[in-house]
């Protein structure tokens, strides 16, 4: 690694931190303009520096490998030590750019969106704080530092979800998010302990270096599997996968920009990032990968079904986020990390866009979130409408929108990868269909048909205060500009993936696995890489371990095209269905839902998962702590026994006291008795 030029990566996270600090400490006194200025300035600067750094990095020779910067030791115990140090490589670069870029746009958006909210400075300092932690997460060069960001973003999201803390629901959501994440972090922690125990370090370079000498754990599970699974737990927490996804929908209590930034674009994808980052470990544990894939599939389809039934616009998006994250996990699960990251990126664009759009809608209809009371907004807010349509096309996977490329890549990999399986593919397609269905449902319900909202709408649930009149209205340009930019990105964002350029770009980060039966591939990784470089346009997957013969690749091309076709078909049919139900035959949905009855309500109520958790875990736990541990053991057993001991002593002492009858003759009696004992004993002693 060459340390010739330092890119001062530390600036990138620290600038937002500075912004956060300034706003946090002195923001109370500032006018809103200044606050906004500061927030934008610092995030913008950080974005700028990120771009600069990225360019510098790309300028470096490809052999250079990751660009490392070591600042200071952080903590040390014996021989074990951790440092403050950043690492810039292809993967973190992508993340960095997404975070700073999308983050900046969302900052801009929020300036207008939050115009009328209380605690303006608080909001922006939190938002900047989030940027800081997120960037630390992605730039860290060791797991502990990543964990810092990991927990930090959790904190930020806690604060932002609970931003409207006057609402109990918001406060609850924030707490729920933090604690659920903590459950995940617990797994992450243990994973780190295992790493320490077995590699004596948390530095990526050292760990992966050490790992690269280990064979894959094809036979049974070993340390690496354990580590991988535990990391997966962490990832599930952050990225809202089954079973820890429950916090994300509630997180929608936060202001919409927050949902866009944290709960769609960036934070929730941290899990995917971590898995991709740890690919050397995951790749060596097929079983772990399988688990990842399965969880991904389940989450994807599960969330999608819920998404279909929701009527709260933000919740629909929330569930779609969950399901898209499932997609990314699926990708990682089939060892197609680059595909996962690719989808991560595109998803960041269009999902952010969707949320911002939704926010704009909500803003426009003065705080209403229920789609059943919207409709026909097309004519009131065209910009919002069309940008959102673009995003929808993207997420639904219509070519040539961004989503298409990434999603198609995932589907293909899930089918063809060494770890793939047709079942995965099938689920993927099904999900794709549902996705496009509920997304268009959203579009139709919101923008088409008649406006169903009451004109003089009472002010919004979260105290959102619009400009008095009830009629929907387009949002100010400061909110629209980001929409437009993101829309553009949602269109062209995917093109970088054409011909596996993206995957190829990431390949330095993805470590090849040397499994016993794969010695061949291992031996000529160079060859593969080279061929990949030349045969770029064939869209030939590189992580696919199947042998590299010409006719094989030709046959594969056919296969891939067919599959592609099917997925496109799925997208279109989703659109069709949505159109059929929500434009053509508006009465149908009710009927169907009625006919489905129980099933429908179950799904509508998100399968009662929250209720089940509440009843199965939380309530028993609280009851246990209260009734058994505290009142039972603490008060009932320990204190009681101590007190009874004391009482016993008192009783004994009363007994002693009773001997003081006050009668002289009794006393003499005692003395005589005592004397007798002494005498007898001594006589015995004397005559022995």
């Amino acid at each position: 690694m060459n340390q010739t030029t330092s890119l001062n990566l530390w600036l990138i996270p620290l600038l937002p931190l500075a912004g956060a600090a300034i706003n946090g400490l002195f923001g109370r006194e500032f006018p809103r303009k200044i606050t906004a200025m500061i927030a934008l300035a610092f995030t913008g600067a950080s974005f700028g520096w990120a771009v600069y750094a990225a360019l510098q990095f790309l300028g470096m020779p490809a052999t250079a490998g990751p660009h490392l910067e070591h600042y200071a030791p952080w903590l040390r115990a014996g021989h074990f030590s951790v440092e403050f140090g950043f690492q810039l490589d292809q993967l973190s670069m992508v993340m960095m750019l997404v975070v700073t870029g999308v983050g900046f746009l969302i900052h801009v958006y929020s300036v207008a969106y939050m115009e009328h909210e209380g605690g303006y400075y608080r909001f922006f300092s939190y938002l900047n704080l989030f940027m800081f932690f997120m960037l630390t997460l992605v730039l860290a060069n060791n797991y502990l530092l990543m964990f810092v960001g990991w927990e930090g973003v959790g904190l930020a999201s806690y604060l932002l979800i609970g931003f409207f803390f006057l609402k109990d629901s918001a406060a609850n959501a924030g707490k729920k998010a933090f604690i659920t994440n903590r459950v995940g972090d617990f797994g992450f922690l243990i994973a780190m302990f295992l790493l320490i125990k077995h590699f004596g370090s948390l530095q990526y370079s050292e760990i992966f270096g050490a790992v690269s000498h280990l064979p894959a754990e094809t036979a049974g599970a070993g340390v690496l599997t354990a580590i991988a699974i535990l990391m997966l737990v962490g990832a599930c927490g952050k990225s809202a996968q089954i079973p820890l996804y429950v916090w994300l929908p509630d997180a929608m209590e936060g202001p919409t920009p927050v949902s866009a930034l944290i709960h769609a674009a960036t934070m929730v994808t941290a899990g995917v990032y971590m898995i991709a980052r740890s690919n050397p470990i995951f790749s060596r544990s097929p079983s772990a990968l399988l688990v990842v894939a399965i969880i991904g599939c389940l989450t994807a389809v599960f969330a999608a079904t819920i998404g279909i039934t929701q009527t709260d616009i933000k919740r629909v998006l929330a569930y779609s986020t969950v399901s898209q994250l499932g997609y990314m996990f699926l990708a990682c699960g089939v060892a197609a990390y680059s595909a996962g990251v690719f989808h991560l990126m595109t998803h960041a664009f269009f999902k952010a866009l969707l949320f911002l759009g939704a926010g704009s809608v909500i803003h426009g209809v003065s705080g209403e979130q229920d789609m059943r009371r919207m409709g026909g907004l097309r004519k009131y807010m065209p910009w919002t409408c069309w940008t959102m349509v673009i995003a929808t096309l993207a997420i639904a996977g219509f070519p040539p929108f961004a989503g298409f490329f990434s999603k198609d890549e995932i589907l293909w990999q899930s089918f063809s990868s060494k770890y793939g399986h047709p079942a995965f593919w099938a689920v993927g397609v099904l999900t794709a269909l549902m996705t496009s269905f509920y997304m268009f449902r959203l579009i139709f319900m919101t923008f088409f048909g008649e406006y169903r909202g009451a004109k003089a709408e009472a002010h919004g649930a979260h105290g959102h205060d619009d400009h008095g009149h009830g009629t929907p209205h387009e949002s100010p340009w400061m909110m629209l500009a980001p929409l437009v930019l993101l829309a553009i990105l949602s269109v062209i964002g995917g093109w970088v993936g054409i011909g596996n350029r993206f995957e190829h770009f990431l390949s330095p980060v993805i470590q090849k696995v040397s499994t016993t039966e794969m010695q061949v591939a291992e031996s000529n990784t160079a060859g593969i890489a080279a061929e990949g470089a030349t045969a770029g346009h064939t869209g030939e997957p590189h992580t696919t371990p199947v042998n590299e013969s010409e006719e094989g690749s030709a046959h594969e091309k056919k296969l891939e095209v067919t599959l592609m076709g099917i997925s496109i078909l799925a997208a279109f049919s989703g659109l069709g269905l949505a159109w059929f139900f929500y434009i053509k035959r508006k009465d149908l949905p009710e009927r169907i839902s009625a006919s489905l009855g129980g099933v429908y309500t179950t799904v509508l109520n998100k399968y009662y998962v929250d209720e089940i958790y509440q009843a199965a875990i939380i309530n028993p736990l609280v009851a246990l702590s209260d009734k058994v541990l505290w009142r039972g053991i603490d008060v009932g057993v320990i204190d009681a026994s101590v007190n009874s001991l004391g009482r016993g002593t008192k009783d004994v002492s009363d007994g002693v006291r009773q001997q003081q009858s006050g009668n002289i003759r009794s006393y003499a009696g005692w003395v005589a008795a005592g004397a007798a004992l002494v005498i007898v004993y001594m006589v015995w002693m004397g005559t022995r």
Partner: protein
């Protein structure tokens, strides 16, 4: 024919007796109706003089032989041991005298005999610590006992006082008879009443008679030091007797009696008493503490506590593997116990008020607010009784137990430490009441008079000195322990 040396050897006793007589005379010529503070001052002077004399005695050579007139034919022996106890008892009596000025006036007792009796009693105690002959020992014991019998009954119009006096007297003389019988048996066993001779003849093997004698003497002395199972009289007597006198008899005669016990058990090669003392110690500690737990009357509570402390002190006796250590531990304990207990009773007597109305634990509620100084001082004494560091009580306990452990008396030590933990509770109760409760009934508190202040000061200084810099006293004790052993 009697050399001057001989008189020097009993100089403190002489001085005390002279002052006693002076006090009697003055009392006779004084007017019935004015209080006897002046006499108190005179006797205080006497004690100081006696103290000086005692210190002077350190220059004497500790000679002992039965033909030498200079030691009254071996009747007494002036050495570190006797000097140690002389100092202790004289200081005790001095403190008690000082605290009595105020007490007598509040109880309006106008008998100069009070002071005279204390003076003469001190003579007895002094002799107890230096007598080398059992008959003289017996007389000395009787002197100190009889004077305390009388003093205990000094609040003549109070039924409790006379009753306690009676109980003390009857049971006391009962016990004395045992002791005397023991003396007779020793005499019979060895043909002499001189400690030295007895020691010599018991050196190699003792006849059963000697065992019997020791047993009877232990009974008698055990009673005097209020060790279980002969402790039973203590609470009643202490409750009834006038507070300052309780302060006196719970420390002075007791210390002297311990001196005698040491003399008898260690000075005469007495055989076979180990387990008796062991059991006495364990019993005293346990019964004393348990009894004190539920007491409402402070004097009674302190009485039980004094039983417990006698137990701790006896623990030191059982450290026979390293006798000098054990003996010195016992001596040190006696001294520090005297310091703290006299102090405690000084406050009790000050606080008791006319007719000893306020002697209940609850009367002490809120004392910390009403007179912070008094409360603080009492707290120091109580902490010392509990055995909290920087107080003499702590170091004494510490030293005793370390001596015991040096002789591998783990069992006894465990009993001891557990007891000291139990004991903490009832002393703490008082502290808690003083500081953490508001007063219930309006209980008057007089300003602290000069005499009392002096007595308290003595107590506090002694307690802290023994707690923080016990070194010199310890070394003195060790030295005297060495001379005690035959």
């Amino acid at each position: 024919m009697i050399p001057a040396d001989a008189y020097l050897r009993i100089l403190p006793e002489i001085i005390l007796s002279v002052f006693g007589i002076i006090v009697m005379m003055l009392d006779a010529v004084m007017d019935e109706h004015n209080d006897r503070k002046s006499l108190g001052i005179v006797s205080a002077v006497g004690f100081v003089a006696a103290l000086v004399a005692t210190f002077y005695q350190t220059t004497l050579a500790p000679a002992i032989n039965t033909t030498d007139a200079a030691t009254w034919w071996g009747m007494i022996r002036v050495d570190n041991f006797s000097i140690f106890f002389h100092v202790v008892v004289i200081l005790i009596s001095l403190a008690v005298t000082l605290m009595s000025f105020e007490y007598l006036s509040t109880q309006n007792i106008r008998y100069g005999e009070y002071y005279a009796l204390i003076l003469f009693g001190t003579v007895g105690m002094g002799l107890m610590s230096c007598a080398m002959e059992l008959v003289l020992l017996f007389i000395a014991i009787e002197i100190s006992s009889i004077s305390t019998y009388v003093l205990a009954g000094f609040r003549r119009r109070a039924a409790e006082s006379t009753e306690s006096s009676l109980k003390y007297f009857l049971l006391g003389s009962f016990a004395t008879a045992f002791f005397l019988y023991g003396v007779a048996m020793m005499f019979g066993a060895t043909g002499s009443t001189y400690v030295a001779d007895i020691a010599r003849s018991l050196q190699n093997g003792a006849p059963t008679l000697a065992y019997l004698g020791i047993a009877l003497m232990i009974v008698g002395l055990g009673f005097k030091v209020a060790a279980a199972p002969f402790q039973i009289w203590t609470p009643d007597v202490y409750e009834g007797a006038p507070a300052p006198i309780v302060g006196l008899m719970s420390t002075g005669p007791k210390a002297a009696a311990f001196a005698v016990l040491l003399r008898v058990l260690f000075g005469t090669n007495a055989p076979g008493w180990f387990w008796i003392i062991w059991i006495c110690a364990a019993l005293s500690m346990t019964l004393g503490n348990l009894g004190a737990l539920v007491q409402q009357n402070v004097k009674r509570m302190l009485a039980y506590s004094s039983i417990a402390h006698a137990g701790y002190l006896l623990v030191a006796f059982t450290a026979t593997k390293d006798m000098p250590l054990g003996i010195s531990a016992a001596m040190f304990y006696a001294a520090s116990y005297a310091a703290m207990n006299v102090g405690a009773f000084a406050i009790v007597s000050h606080f008791a008020n006319a007719g000893e109305k306020y002697v209940l634990v609850d009367d002490y509620a809120g004392l910390g607010r009403r007179s912070p100084v008094l409360a603080a001082v009492l707290t120091i004494f109580l902490l010392s009784l509990i055995g909290i560091p920087i107080t003499g009580g702590f170091f004494a306990k510490f030293y005793v137990f370390s001596a015991a452990l040096k002789s591998n008396l783990i069992g006894l030590t465990i009993i001891g430490v557990i007891n000291s933990a139990i004991g903490a509770y009832y002393y703490l109760r008082l502290i808690v009441l003083m500081y953490m409760h508001e007063e219930r009934a309006e209980v008057p508190v007089q300003p602290i008079s000069f005499g009392l202040g002096l007595a308290l000061a003595m107590g506090v200084v002694a307690t802290l000195y023994l707690g923080i810099l016990p070194g010199r006293v310890l070394n003195f004790a060790i030295a005297s322990a060495k001379v005690l052993l035959p």
